[in-house]
């Protein structure tokens, strides 16, 4: 189930809100857990067993590690290794095995059995949460969770279950036991949720439609400018899609008294790639920094090793986003850009924020074109179009897309800057009735867009 669906908004959400606030405080964790499991089971019910398995395994290993940490640290480390291995194995099989096996079979190793597995929703997110928990327990940064229910809730809590943010255990440890929701906090959560919904439904979906139209253009209609328009549309689409989802998760968390860390910090206003990655999907990049980069030695090593570390981290980051060569290429692309920034450009650009900003944005845009095309020949064609290979600079079709897509692109641009949010906040405080009226209308527009998605006329044939 996704948040931007009818089932969620008008069946699941009212039910969980009612049940949660009617239930006595000590039963609330139970309610949340039950609904979380239903939420998870909604799309692909069998994977509920994987989820339960993961919860149990990580719970028990957490206990084993914490029991042995003081006296038998090697034994604890062994168990940590096994537990992390277990998590990575689960992730590896479900997410990467189909890809790897098909690649291996492709080069002639026919004895490897191919498998078609449906990716369990959110497995990349909750596996990483579990790993961070185990490592933190081992490092004695947090106290082990003895309550199974609370631990299960930490892993499976529905707001952040399927698309992050990757919540660190110490962020929510206290709230798992004791939390309070005030009306204002609830309203604050509602504000986040609505913002996320608007980003997803009104911006991301429309930008996505624009991108799909441009992407599927035949060679006869393609041009440089159109290709860039499409690339910008996708760049904004993925931002609003992802950050919208994070906003909704944070908002929902707030409604139930949890404070999740922020996941995006206006990434498209970043002045360098380094700063872009400090602002984009923060919970993921900090996870990689903490659990991969620093254990490898970080930057306190020889430059050669540092280069190695960075490349490893970024290959993994790329691969985390999906099982495909293009994701690796995308990760590598950032690894190289970051190395260039560190060793070649240094902080020259940070002295000139605007050129840096524009350059960063363009590089990120190009990066997304590696990200979105799983097929290499399509990727080459598209990126080729962006640089004028095999097409003109602009044509009539460009004009068409400029006229029909410019407004939504400009809105996207405006929405992804802090200026908008500052103005929005000031306006909300000053004219609070009006701004709530605006939110109501926006919410109604979201519903209209969701209803329209199912508008599916059947005119010519009855199949």
């Amino acid at each position: 189930m996704v948040f931007s669906s009818m089932t969620y908004l008008f069946v699941f959400l009212p039910m969980v809100l009612l049940a949660y606030f009617i239930a006595p405080p000590q039963a609330r964790n139970m309610v949340l857990l039950a609904f979380s499991l239903i939420f998870y089971a909604w799309g692909e019910p069998v994977y509920i067993f994987l989820m339960l398995m993961s919860i149990t395994v990580n719970y028990v290993f957490g206990r084993i590690i914490s029991n042995n940490r003081a006296n038998h640290s090697r034994y604890a480390k062994l168990n940590l290794g096994i537990a992390v291995g277990w998590n990575l194995l689960a992730l590896g099989i479900f997410k990467y095995y189909p890809f790897v096996s098909s690649q291996l079979r492709g080069i002639g190793l026919k004895f490897i059995p191919g498998m078609k597995l449906i990716l369990p929703i959110g497995i990349s997110f909750y596996t990483f949460q579990a790993i961070s928990y185990l490592v933190d327990v081992y490092r004695n940064k947090i106290r082990v969770q003895r309550g199974f229910l609370k631990f299960a809730l930490y892993i499976s809590m529905f707001p952040q279950l399927i698309a992050g943010p990757i919540v660190r255990y110490d962020d929510v440890e206290k709230q798992l036991s004791k939390r309070k929701v005030t009306l204002a906090m609830f309203g604050n959560g509602g504000e986040y949720f609505l913002r996320g919904l608007i980003k997803k439904v009104l911006l991301a979906n429309q930008l996505g439609a624009l991108y799909v139209q441009i992407e599927s253009l035949g060679a006869a209609h393609a041009s440089v400018l159109t290709a860039w328009l499409g690339a910008f549309a996708y760049t904004f689409q993925i931002y609003f899609d992802f950050s919208g989802y994070s906003d909704m998760a944070i908002g929902l968390g707030k409604m139930f008294g949890f404070r999740f860390p922020k996941n995006f910090d206006y990434p498209y206003t970043a002045t360098s790639i380094t700063s872009f990655w400090r602002r984009w999907h923060i919970s993921l990049s900090s996870w990689f920094r903490e659990y991969v980069y620093i254990p490898l030695g970080g930057k306190r090593v020889s430059p050669r090793k540092h280069v190695r570390n960075i490349l490893i981290v970024w290959l993994l980051t790329g691969f985390w986003h999906g099982a495909g060569w293009n994701f690796m290429l995308w990760g590598l692309y950032y690894g190289i850009l970051l190395l260039l920034e560190k060793y070649v450009v240094h902080d020259r650009i940070s002295r000139h924020p605007w050129p840096g900003r524009i350059l960063t944005f363009l590089l990120v845009t190009i990066g997304w074109m590696f990200f979105v095309h799983t097929d290499f020949s399509e990727m080459l064609t598209y990126v080729g179009h962006m640089f004028g290979v095999g097409c003109t600079f602009a044509n009539a079709t460009t004009g068409y897309f400029l006229r029909t897509g410019l407004l939504v692109l400009l809105l996207g641009m405006f929405f992804s800057t802090p200026i908008f949010h500052r103005l929005n906040e000031q306006f909300a405080v000053k004219y609070y009735t009006t701004s709530i009226a605006i939110r109501i209308v926006m919410f109604m527009l979201c519903i209209a867009a969701l209803v329209y998605q199912s508008y599916n006329p059947f005119l010519y044939f009855r199949f």
Binding site: F186, L217, T404, L406, V451
Partner: protein, 397 residues
């Protein structure tokens, strides 16, 4: 904390509290309305049955059918669904969106369907099947008329630069294919030049909100066809009758682009009258004339012609001739057949999308003297059923 800061904080709290209340009210109000809203079985606007509450079986739950159907059900049965669709249309209009579900919205209130060259082979296969079929009947005169669609004739009305494929290009290559088949008994009627002229004179050839041609368009088409068939078309008088003046057609339904734009449907009745009777063969009904009042008053008034599309119609007329015509057609022909009635004693109308009989038996046994293939380009390009019935069913073995 200064006074000002405290005031600011209080205002902020007030805003969030109010928002919390409003958010809850919205969610619960709509959920409640959704619960009590009467269920609908059919949407006249989309012309499809709406999803009902899904069947809950272990199998359905296990493979995710239930959950998908649930989402469809909720969206289909949402309170005042059509108004929400309209609201989204308003939003799209403000945002400058011009395209939806294969339909472009033009400035001059025309909705125009796109043409996409997805698979040239399918149409080539159909053309080959037609040529092979016609080759078997060298004594029968054959006519092939592919009617250009609005996206060709009215391409100036499309939003500038809209990325549609050119029907003209495809038509040119198709003409070449037909020419190469070298059939002496086949005549091809190209309507584009005439239509372009008519459109330039401001005549309405296509409905603004429907993918069909107007009866006037069909009249122009019939005139061209009649000239090739050697019919005394010019001597015939027609009485124009307006039967609908608020016609909102399939393109409006298809795209969800709603506006007050409406069209007029006219009928051209032969004057003096030519008695005709239509046998709906598969429906086993024989009815007088060519028109259906039920179709006219129904969801799609274009169905005034014959009440819709049927597999096989047999029209007998009082025309003083012994020419008998067999038409292979799509819904475009429905508006045009009336113009041919005064010139043929019998017309067999076959819609390959639904016809399942043996076409060769029909051709030979009905005493056919003329065969006409009458399609609009888009349907001809996209539809595979014509080749299926012409090849006698073993097409895909």
């Amino acid at each position: 904390m200064t006074d000002r800061e405290a005031r600011e904080r209080a205002r902020k709290l007030r805003f969030f509290r109010l928002l919390g209340i409003v958010f809850l009210m919205m969610i619960f109000l709509l959920s409640f309305l959704r619960l009590v809203w009467p269920r609908k079985a059919y949407s006249a606007q989309e012309r499809r049955t709406l999803t009902q509450f899904p069947e809950m079986t272990t199998e359905n739950l296990r493979n995710g059918t239930f959950t998908n159907a649930m989402e469809d059900y909720l969206a289909d049965q949402f309170p005042a669904r059509n108004v929400w669709v309209y609201l989204d249309d308003l939003r799209g209009r403000i945002m400058g969106e011009k395209y939806s579900q294969g339909v472009y919205r033009s400035g001059s209130s025309y909705l125009i369907e796109e043409f996409k060259r997805t698979d040239d082979n399918r149409a080539a296969k159909t053309t080959k099947a037609v040529m092979d079929y016609l080759r078997e009947y060298p004594d029968i005169s054959a006519y092939f008329m592919l009617v250009p669609n609005a996206s060709w004739i009215l391409k100036d009305k499309l939003p500038g630069g809209a990325p549609i494929d050119s029907e003209e290009d495809w038509y040119t290559s198709w003409s070449q294919e037909v020419k190469n088949a070298n059939l002496s008994n086949l005549k091809v009627i190209s309507l584009a030049p005439t239509f372009a002229e008519e459109a330039a004179q401001g005549k309405q050839i296509y409905y603004r909100t429907d993918h069909h041609w107007t009866t006037y368009g069909a009249y122009v088409g019939a005139k061209e066809l009649a000239a090739q068939m050697g019919l005394a078309f010019e001597e015939q008088n027609w009485k124009k009758v307006e039967v609908h003046n608020r016609f909102q057609g399939t393109l409006m339904s298809k795209s969800g682009f709603y506006s007050r734009t409406a069209d007029t449907i006219e009928l051209y009745l032969p004057d003096p009258d030519v008695a005709s009777v239509t046998a709906y063969k598969e429906q086993q009904k024989t009815l007088p004339g060519l028109y259906s009042s039920e179709g006219l008053t129904g969801d799609d008034p274009y169905e005034v012609f014959f009440g819709g599309n049927y597999p096989w119609l047999n029209i007998s007329t009082k025309a003083k001739t012994n020419r008998k015509l067999l038409i292979f057609k799509d819904s475009y022909a429905n508006a045009m057949i009336g113009f041919l009635c005064p010139f043929f004693s019998e017309i067999h109308v076959v819609d390959p999308r639904y016809y399942t009989g043996d076409i060769r038996t029909l051709t030979a046994s009905a005493g056919i003297t003329d065969i006409c293939f009458l399609y609009n380009i888009k349907t001809y390009y996209e539809d595979a059923s014509l080749s299926l019935i012409l090849e006698g069913g073993e097409a895909d073995e």
